[in-house]
């Protein structure tokens, strides 16, 4: 485990193997939960951080749902290690994990991630076959049952924002949906994307404000303040629709609509030079600042039960 380089991009096999070393190093805190398999039959895992109890209030975090957003996955690896090593050392993390469980999916689109390593670095979608089309894949962040098929998603299977034949058609999405619904006690749902430097809350499928807009905006702004305190990275905060564009079928709209109030999506850094190709030497700085923002949200969720 000590030889693992957190400041490098890794293949899926290496990440999966590293997960085992993390679990082995922290057996009383971290476990690897298989939440299903991908379209191409790869296992999908979430790391579960828990100090005991059954179905305690929990926080869901996913990274890498868009395959080419490598820094999202690389940051999630670093943050998983950080959370494990800070437990028992950082009073905030210790208190958080004393009360809540955290589920962290590091590679939420494993087929796509492998495809970016082997065939097309710019691949974004899943790898499912679309009947009647030569083009493969569905945008897994247009596939959730939240304004599905509405504005900001494409019906064209060749588009990078293709919404798929029906909501939750993608097994990768369905696996997360099933876990969250069967658990029934998630209090926060956080998706990690790259890039653009944004922290967003619902809605994307509609430009109307959510009932908790003021609170989510305030939490988001404080989280960004924490994030920016490390390197001064500037982030924008707002609803998906208002700070990027209308986009239907997104994960955090789905989570919010099923009652998970604290639903956020990060777009991690790029300073306008590299886009999806953020150099590896920026992984740890990116992860470190993101961790501060993420931790702020998790602390707020812990302190504001509902």
């Amino acid at each position: 485990a000590r030889s693992f380089n957190f400041g490098a991009y890794h293949t899926l096999d290496t990440i999966y193997s590293w997960m085992d070393t993390l679990v082995a190093a922290h057996p009383n805190l971290v476990s690897k939960v298989q939440i299903g398999t991908s379209y191409e039959n790869r296992p999908m895992y979430a790391l579960k951080f828990s100090t005991g109890g059954n179905k305690r209030p929990a926080i869901w975090i996913d990274a890498g749902i868009h395959a080419r957003e490598w820094v999202s996955t690389a940051s999630a690896v670093w943050m998983a290690d950080k959370m494990a090593t800070d437990y028992g050392v950082d009073p905030s993390v210790t208190s958080l994990l004393g009360q809540m469980d955290v589920y962290l999916s590091i590679v939420t689109n494993p087929d796509g991630y492998v495809y970016t390593h082997t065939s097309d670095r710019m691949w974004r979608k899943t790898r499912s076959v679309n009947t009647g089309s030569v083009c493969r894949g569905v945008d897994p962040n247009r596939n959730w049952d939240a304004g599905f098929g509405g504005p900001g998603a494409s019906k064209n299977p060749c588009s990078d924002s293709y919404h798929g034949p029906h909501a939750h058609s993608e097994i990768e999405v369905k696996n997360v949906v099933d876990l969250v619904q069967s658990h029934g006690n998630f209090k926060a749902f956080i998706s990690v994307h790259a890039y653009s430097q944004l922290l967003m809350y619902p809605y994307g499928y509609s430009c109307t404000s959510v009932p908790h807009q003021a609170e989510l905006d305030s939490v988001g702004r404080s989280a960004v303040q924490a994030l920016s305190s490390l390197y001064g990275t500037s982030y924008k905060v707002g609803s998906i629709c208002k700070i990027i564009y209308q986009a239907s079928g997104g994960s955090i709209d789905w989570s919010y609509d099923i009652g998970i109030k604290y639903s956020f999506a990060f777009e991690l850094r790029d300073t306008g030079r590299y886009g999806f190709l953020l150099p590896a030497n920026q992984i740890i700085p990116t992860a470190s600042e993101t961790w501060l923002g993420l931790k702020h949200i998790m602390e707020y969720v812990r302190d504001h039960p509902y």
Partner: protein, 97 residues
């Protein structure tokens, strides 16, 4: 492995709603095989487009003709990908050692 030799990523700073509309037209045009890394929505956020080498001339002409400001964010996508791949391989080798 798909190659992106000579492809560029352009960063476009739209200055008006008219620019946004023109960029949306560009987005709908499948002929140039553009990959919008970020999409045209408002003048607040830049629009980044991965442009294949074959379409570079036409896209830059389009932007210049409509006086839409842009600069080259990534000059040769493949060079950056090669560097990245080299890093992945080097690291894997070091970890094996």
């Amino acid at each position: 492995h798909k190659l992106f030799i000579g492809d560029q990523v352009l960063r476009i700073n739209a200055e008006s709603e008219e620019h946004i509309q023109l960029l949306k037209e560009l987005e709908d045009d499948e002929g140039w095989e553009l990959d919008f890394w970020t999409h045209p929505a408002s003048t607040d956020l830049p629009v980044d487009i991965h442009v294949p080498f074959a379409s570079l001339h036409a896209v830059k002409n389009f932007l210049q003709a409509h006086k839409i400001p842009f600069h080259v964010m990534i000059n040769n996508l493949q060079e950056l990908l090669d560097e990245e791949q080299e890093g992945v391989e080097l690291n894997a080798m070091q970890e094996r050692n």
